[in-house]
Every structure is written in C-alpha cells, then in structure tokens.
C-alpha cells in the first residue's frame, strides 16, 4: 500500500506548496506514488480528532512555515506524534525564514503597529454570547526544530524544483539519507555560480553598494562589483536563480553543515575582504551595508545563536 504523507504549513506564504506544484507533470508521478492524507489545511485541530489516527501512521509529514502561534505549535506537535518522519520543508521551517525577521520585535509590537489605536483583537471574545477565540501570537518566531524534532530539512525560499524532486526520490526510496540531513549539496553556492570564474583572487572592496546605487554587469561576480552577495556562504542547490536574475544571493538556502550561525559566518567572511586598517576608513566601507541583520539573517534569525532581538 502507498505511504501516507501529509503537507502542512505553519507561518508561511504558500510558496512551498507552489514549489511542489511546480513539479508540473512531475506532480502526477508523486500523486501516483503516495497517498496524501493532509494538504496544508487539516481536520479541525481538536485533540480527539487527531488521536483518532494511530501514532506514527503517517509515513512523512512535510511541514513548511515557521512556528508563530500556539495553534501552529499544537499542530506541529500533533503531526510529529502521528508521523514516522517529519521534514522541515523550505527556509521558514528550516531556519525561520523571512517571517523570522519578526524576532526583531514582539507580538505586542506587531499588534500595536498593525492596529494602532483601532483596538486589538482579543484571544477570547464574546459577541452577544457567541464565544470566539483566536490563537496566541508568540513573541518569537521559531524554526520548526525548536518546536519538534525534525528528521530532514529541505532548504530554499522556495526549494527549487530540482531539490523538491530529488527530495521525493531520496525519501521514497531506501536507503534513507543520514538522519538530520539537509537534502541539498553540502558546499556553497559559488561552486555552481555561472560567474564564479570572474571572482578575483585578491578581492579588496573599498565600498559596498546598494542595488540602486550601481548598474550591475551581467557577467561579473556580483560580490566583486561591491554588492554583498552571500553565495560564498550559502548552500548550493538553488540553481543560482537570483544570480541569473542579475541580483545578489540573499542566502535563502541557508548554511552548509560546517557553519553554526549562518549570519555570523557570512558577516565574518564578507568583512574579511575589504580595504582599510583604520576604524574610520573601515566604517566608510561598511556604510553600504545599511541593515546588517536584514542582510545576513534575512532567512535565519530564529535559528541564529541569539534567536531574537534582546527583550527590552
């Protein structure tokens, strides 16, 4: 009988489901190979409905999105219990993703910003006797593996079609990959960059540019052109799509297995290839990097060592 699989989303954009649909004709093969018991929306989340299923009766749960509300946490735990394997699918589940930038603020901060003085929604509300509830918004966004144990990771925002099809290959056939593996090459993206040979050996940047500050050559190393391109620090497998779009890598495929804090390591290396031995000169060079956290932790703040901005 075909393995039962589930797809679920937490705090995410739906791009990951689209990434699966982008297998196009390939989707039909996947559908043929598995028995999909959930797609991102599942049954009413109450304990008793879920406990109706036997623990571990789902072969693989593919969970995308970060954990941001009590409701998503509950669901993630539930699926963990019901599944033999849980796959953190996409940058949000693996690293926290762009919604993870919310770790620079708090739930209160967000509600205040969004609703201002128009009044904020309440977790429990009675409207002429009708009890309505909303799940709790956490102060922090969490990568999936901070909430539940994760067996495999699929990087990318979104994962590239090749990565997705390789993933199905890898997980539907024996032998399974190493537990905890990130299902993508374990070297940095520069290696597959079409412009890799144009990177000079002696790179010493005397300033960083913002994208609106200079025209970019179509065929020269983008870092060498002064834009902080994170290709050297980012796991390969994306097919260097952003480079093809003539824009710098922003790191959605996250770290290789030899980095512990993606942003810290990326910063460390970018800061190593600049001019300047005096503080003033060095600071001038870095002026072009106006938002270090947004630059180096765009997809990975919740999975960084510090996890979030310090609470005031």
């Amino acid at each position: 009988m075909k393995p039962k699989v589930a797809f679920y989303w937490c705090a995410s954009c739906g791009g990951c489901e689209e990434a699966v649909l982008d297998l196009a004709e390939g989707v039909l093969n996947v559908v043929a190979a598995v028995d999909i018991v959930f797609w991102p929306v599942a049954l009413d989340f109450k304990e008793k409905d879920i406990s109706a299923m036997d623990d571990g009766s789902i072969a693989i749960s593919f969970i995308n999105g970060a954990v941001r509300t009590s409701h998503q946490l509950e669901m993630a735990r539930l699926l963990r219990r019901k599944s033999k394997l849980v796959v953190a699918f996409g940058a949000c589940a693996q690293l926290g993703g762009i919604p993870g930038l919310a770790n620079l603020t708090t739930a209160a901060g967000i509600l205040a910003e969004v609703y201002g003085d128009a009044g904020t929604p309440e977790l429990q509300f009675r409207d002429d006797g009708h009890a309505l509830t909303l799940p709790k918004l956490f102060d922090s966004v969490f990568a999936l593996d901070r909430a539940i144990p994760v067996d495999y990771y699929v990087p990318g925002c979104p994962p590239s079609p090749k990565i997705v099809s390789d993933m199905f290959q890898a997980l539907l056939d024996e032998p399974l990959p190493e537990p905890g593996a990130v299902l993508a090459p374990d070297h940095a993206m520069c290696d597959e960059c079409p412009r890799r040979d144009t990177r000079p050996q002696e790179l010493k940047l005397d300033r960083f540019y913002r994208v609106q500050e200079r025209m970019l050559d179509m065929d020269r190393c983008i870092l060498a052109q002064g834009l902080p391109c994170l290709g050297p620090a980012t796991r390969a497998g994306c097919g260097s799509r952003c480079i093809a779009g003539n824009m710098p890598c922003t790191g959605c495929f996250g770290p290789t297995s030899h980095m512990r804090d993606y942003g810290g390591k990326a910063l460390c290396s970018i800061a190593s290839v600049i001019e300047g031995n005096e503080t003033a000169q060095i600071d001038r060079v870095f002026e072009g990097i106006v938002d270090p956290v947004g630059t180096f932790y765009r997809y990975s703040l919740p999975s960084s060592f510090l996890e979030r901005k310090r609470l005031e």
């Binding site: 954990v67 946490l73 620079l104 956490f138 102060d139 922090s140 969490f142 901070r146 909430a147 980095m259 512990r260 804090d261 942003g263 810290g264 390591k265 910063l267 460390c268 970018i270 800061a271 190593s272 600049i274 300047g276 031995n277 503080t279 060095i282 600071d283 870095f286 990097i289 938002d291 270090p292 956290v293 180096f296 960084s304 060592f305 510090l306 996890e307 979030r308 901005k309 310090r310 609470l311 005031e312």
Partner: protein
C-alpha cells in the same frame, strides 16, 4: 538589577601579544577582577564572529577580543581582519539590542601586563552598570514557549 550581579566576560586572547600580557600580569602579580575567562587563539584573526555570538547566546555579558597592536601582529595583519569584522559586528549587535560596550576589541602587547588589568576592570565596571545581557526570567520564558 541585583546588586550582586557579577558580569561574565569571555576573552579571546591572541597567543603572541595579549595572552603573553596576561602571563606577564600574572608573573607581576597584578591583581584584577576575576570576571573574564580567557580562550586562547593563535591570532585575533582566528576569532570567528560565530564565537562572539555563541558567547553572548550562552550567557556572556561581555566579550573581549585581545590582539597585537596595529602593525605588530605576529602574523602581520590578522589583527586588521579582526578589526574589520568587529566594526561590522558591532552594528549587527546594536540591532539585536546589544550595547557597543559589551563587545570590546583591545590591542595589548606582550609588554602591557597592566593593560590587561585596566581593560578587564573597566569592562567589569561598565557591565555592572549595564546589567545582565539576558534578563534571565522573561527571556527564557519566551524562548521556552515552544519548549
């Protein structure tokens, strides 16, 4: 903040200058505060930004990087690499709500035993003023929402 707050400092000292300065402070029996604990590296250029972040994440209230004076690096220019990383890292930490004073980069030569005392004592005083980096309770509370 509790009055008995004792800041924790992780100090990355280069083998050839600052670590020797600390040795000299020792042989000279110079007395300084016991809040800094030294991790020896061959050169301040080895200090990976990840190390600093790890230290802060694991409970350090301050991090001190000690290297050779500009031009004096045992490896010629490792200390400049350290300086460059430090300047950018400072700005990142600021965004994360971590004050500049909590990360300090100091050039201390093998001859400057007393400088070790001055720097560490100063830093401890500053950190006592700033208070603990992580206000343990609430910070843990929220980080363990999922735990």
């Amino acid at each position: 903040m509790p009055d008995d707050f004792e800041p924790r400092i992780v100090a990355f000292f280069c083998n050839w200058c600052t670590y020797l300065a600390a040795d000299l402070a020792g042989t000279s029996r110079i007395k300084y505060l016991p809040n800094a604990e030294v991790v020896r590296v061959m050169c301040s250029g080895r200090v990976d930004v990840q190390f600093v972040l790890k230290a802060f994440a694991k409970g350090a209230d301050g991090v001190l990087i000690g290297g050779c004076h500009p031009g004096d690096c045992h490896y010629q220019e490792g200390n400049y690499k350290a300086l460059r990383r430090y300047r950018l890292l400072r700005r990142l930490l600021r965004q994360m709500g971590i004050e500049d004073e909590r990360l300090r980069l100091e050039w201390i030569s093998a001859a400057e035993g007393d400088r070790v005392r001055v720097v560490i004592d100063e830093m401890v005083a500053t950190l006592k003023r700033l208070g603990p980096l992580r206000k343990a309770e609430e910070e843990r509370a929220h980080l363990t929402e999922v735990a």
